[in-house]
């Protein structure tokens, strides 16, 4: 374990978020079992009040998760001088087997928390809580992932041991540490990847705008936006980051959030996360368009989600294109 202020902040955030989600789920399960909107019972009244608490808690968890992804990455970056062979976050996360899995599951829980909030907002549009059971089932689904994330993150940080001078010297000497689970940052050929990125982005944006205007093709847009998230991440690794760093060999997806690159990564990743969560949320809400108490509010909300997602993807593409155009690197 490395006693570092940022490590403490990470663990604190993780424990706090998990604690809050478990707390919320405790009441969520009660709602799942006892909810009866027609009843005027005292319990029902109490449960209706609890829904406010749970949605407040989840809103905070969602915000916390978003910040904690970034906190996690730059903690890893801050720790890299402590390990032989680690140049930035990418190396530090590879120090033991739990670094990358934690990051992936962090992204997953963030997305799930975002979906939950979207569902919650949709549910609040109707007077009779039409989606309440679905909402709390989703919450129960999120809990195991949150717990897993906390366990992995603790295992990662507790397992770190700095390579410091030992009394004998005995040091180091390029004893290449066994790479953890290993995580090959796929670096596909730049030119091909750039084509894939721009063509698929064009399709996604067209589909998004089409859905916004005509109200058709929502599921397709949802699937496309989920895929686009993955494609964008791969593109960052493959061809976007080398342009930002102006180094054809540097493909790190983490360094772009650093000070040296004017924190451009924050914008890019936040746009991507927003786009993906809203895009997937669009699809998740489509089946409930027919619910009577939700019309017409839900239809408007879904279209807003779609346009928010499309707008974020468009902004992402615009920033990326600007970066590439203004970069001194020619490939």
């Amino acid at each position: 374990m490395i006693l570092h202020p940022e490590v403490i902040a990470n663990l604190l955030a993780s424990y706090a978020a998990t604690f809050m989600v478990i707390y919320a789920t405790f009441y969520g399960v009660q709602i799942l079992r006892r909810w009866d909107i027609r009843s005027g019972d005292e319990l029902q009244l109490a449960l209706e009040r609890k829904t406010y608490l749970i949605s407040t808690v989840l809103t905070y968890v969602f915000a916390l998760q978003l910040f904690s992804i970034f906190l996690y990455v730059f903690t890893a970056d801050a720790l890299c001088p402590l390990f032989v062979g680690a140049m930035c976050a990418a190396g530090t996360l590879n120090v033991n087997a739990f670094g990358y899995p934690t990051l992936l599951i962090k992204i997953l829980t963030f997305m799930l928390a975002g979906l939950w909030l979207i569902l919650n907002h949709a549910d609040n549009q109707g007077y009779d809580y039409p989606l309440i059971k679905k909402k709390y089932s989703l919450l129960a689904f999120i809990v195991p992932f949150m717990i897993l994330e906390t366990i992995l993150e603790s295992a990662y940080f507790l397992g770190l041991k700095a390579d410091v001078i030992t009394s004998c010297c005995g040091s180091l000497f390029s004893i290449e540490r066994e790479a953890g689970l290993g995580f090959i940052l796929v670096s596909l050929p730049e030119r091909a990847m750039a084509w894939i990125f721009y063509v698929s982005m064009l399709c996604t944006l067209t589909c998004g705008i089409f859905f916004y205007r005509r109200g058709r093709g929502g599921y397709l847009y949802s699937i496309l936006s989920a895929m686009m998230f993955v494609v964008s991440i791969i593109s960052i690794v493959s061809f976007i980051s080398p342009y930002v760093y102006e180094l054809p060999t540097h493909h790190c997806p983490f360094c772009i959030v650093m000070r040296e690159y004017h924190y451009i990564g924050y914008f890019l990743y936040m746009l991507l996360f927003t786009a993906a969560v809203c895009g997937i949320g669009t699809g998740a809400l489509l089946p409930f368009r027919g619910v009577q108490s939700l019309t017409p509010a839900l239809g408007i909300f879904i279209r807003r989600l779609a346009i928010a997602s499309t707008g974020s993807y468009a902004a992402f593409t615009a920033i990326v294109t600007c970066e590439i155009a203004s970069s001194n690197l020619m490939m």
């Binding site: 570092h4 202020p5 490590v7 902040a9 916390l64 001088p81 390579d163 410091v164 001078i165 040091s171």
Partner: protein, 405 residues
């Protein structure tokens, strides 16, 4: 109002609620000022610890960048011993080594002042091929260093009240006294490294400690290609098994760990204070005054929903948190970088008689600020969620009936 117009002005709605929250906060100034001060104090203490440790780490890494790639020490029975110069050839022959140089340095305890000096024989003038961005550890007037004279650091000059032309009496290994004249003092820009430093001529050094001509304290090895450093270091241990090479990165890593540890330790110690603060915040948030209950009751009676009250409470928390957070951060900045961290200096820096006076270069990054945010605002927010909700679900009639009593 139809649905569309209602949805069109969410910003207006938030603005209205913030406006209301601010005025209601101002109405209860005394209660909130206490909370705000305590909150800002917590942020201030943590921020000071974080700013201090990270800027001293930065300073250490800047200084160490100018040090040799590898230092080789001779070991005898597990202890650091004098390095026989004849072994230098073997090191020079290792492929990848650009230059090898013997160093003479040691510590001298001055019982008159009760202080330890670091004595160094300055290395021979380096070739001009040396990279210019490497910051030299100390600057001095090389011409001033003739036999019988020394150049002293500011710490030495300050504590011993010495200036140019004075002399210091050193007790040599055999008990005899050697008087050395102060020829110059070192530049004050480098006080962190040069405070307790004394530069001394080679002959005087050998006379003082009885070190033969064939020995040096240790040797420095220059390696041109940084990627070869670990390989060169391992080859040196193979050629000279009784030596210990210390690689610059290792020193850097060790300093980093030490200061991380100190910063982390501070936070662990302060966690009791944070916890106390969280309990205080919880208590403040749950103990609604009769006036506040009435206010919420009236708001709900005139049509506010539970979620609106929660929103109002959220803004209240955000306003208090951000005010305290920024006040704490600004105070900490002043404390660490302008007043030289008066309060934490002894705990975080370590101590010695000849402690250098130095001011840290201001260095703040988004990372530090977010870490700080996580350590202060997040616990506060979590502590206030449930009390906030409790306040928000008050029934209007119950609230007003109670206050009527």
């Amino acid at each position: 109002m139809d649905y569309e117009t209602q949805m069109r002005s969410p910003i207006e709605r938030q603005r209205g609620i913030i406006d209301f929250t601010l005025s209601s906060l101002m109405r209860r100034k005394v209660k909130n000022v206490g909370l705000l001060c305590l909150y800002a104090l917590i942020v201030f203490i943590l921020a000071s610890a974080i700013f201090f440790t990270s800027s001293i780490k930065k300073e250490a890494s800047l200084i160490l960048r100018g040090t040799p790639e590898i230092i080789v020490q001779k070991m005898a029975a597990g202890r650091h011993d004098l390095f026989p110069l004849r072994d230098m050839e073997a090191v020079k022959n290792v492929r990848g080594v650009a230059a090898v140089e013997g160093r003479l340095w040691g510590y001298y305890f001055d019982d008159r002042l009760g202080a330890n000096y670091t004595l160094i024989v300055p290395p021979a003038a380096r070739s001009s091929a040396e990279p210019s961005e490497a910051r030299p550890l100390f600057w001095f007037n090389a011409a001033a260093l003739e036999p019988g004279t020394i150049v002293i650091g500011e710490g030495v000059a300050r504590v011993g009240k010495l200036s140019k032309g004075d002399s210091i009496a050193f007790t040599a290994y055999d008990g005899s006294t050697i008087d050395l004249k102060v020829a110059d003092t070192l530049s004050s820009k480098s006080e962190l490294v040069s405070s307790d430093l004394i530069l001394i001529g080679e002959e005087d050094f050998r006379k003082l400690f009885d070190i033969g001509k064939d020995y040096a304290t240790d040797i420095t090895v220059e390696v041109k290609n940084p990627r070869e450093i670990p390989t060169v270091a391992s080859k040196i241990t193979r050629v000279l098994p009784d030596t210990r090479p210390i690689v610059r990165d290792e020193i850097l890593r060790t300093y980093d760990s030490i200061f991380n540890w100190r910063g982390g330790m501070m936070i662990v110690i302060l966690s009791a204070a944070i916890l106390a603060f969280v309990i205080f915040a919880w208590d403040k948030a749950s103990g609604l005054s009769a006036e506040e209950r009435q206010e919420i009751g009236i708001l709900k009676a005139v049509g506010w929903e539970t979620s609106d009250v929660i929103l109002m409470k959220f803004w209240e928390g955000a306003i208090v948190s951000l005010t305290a957070y920024f006040a704490g951060v600004i105070l900490a900045y002043v404390h660490v970088f302008l007043t030289g961290s008066l309060i934490f200096e002894p705990a975080l820096k370590g101590w010695s008689v000849l402690y250098p006076h130095f001011s840290l270069t201001p260095f703040i990054s988004a990372e530090q600020l977010i870490t700080l945010f996580f350590l202060t605002v997040v616990p506060y927010t979590i502590a206030t969620i449930v009390p906030t909700w409790r306040a928000a679900i008050i029934d209007p009639d119950a609230a007003m009936r109670q206050t009527g009593e």
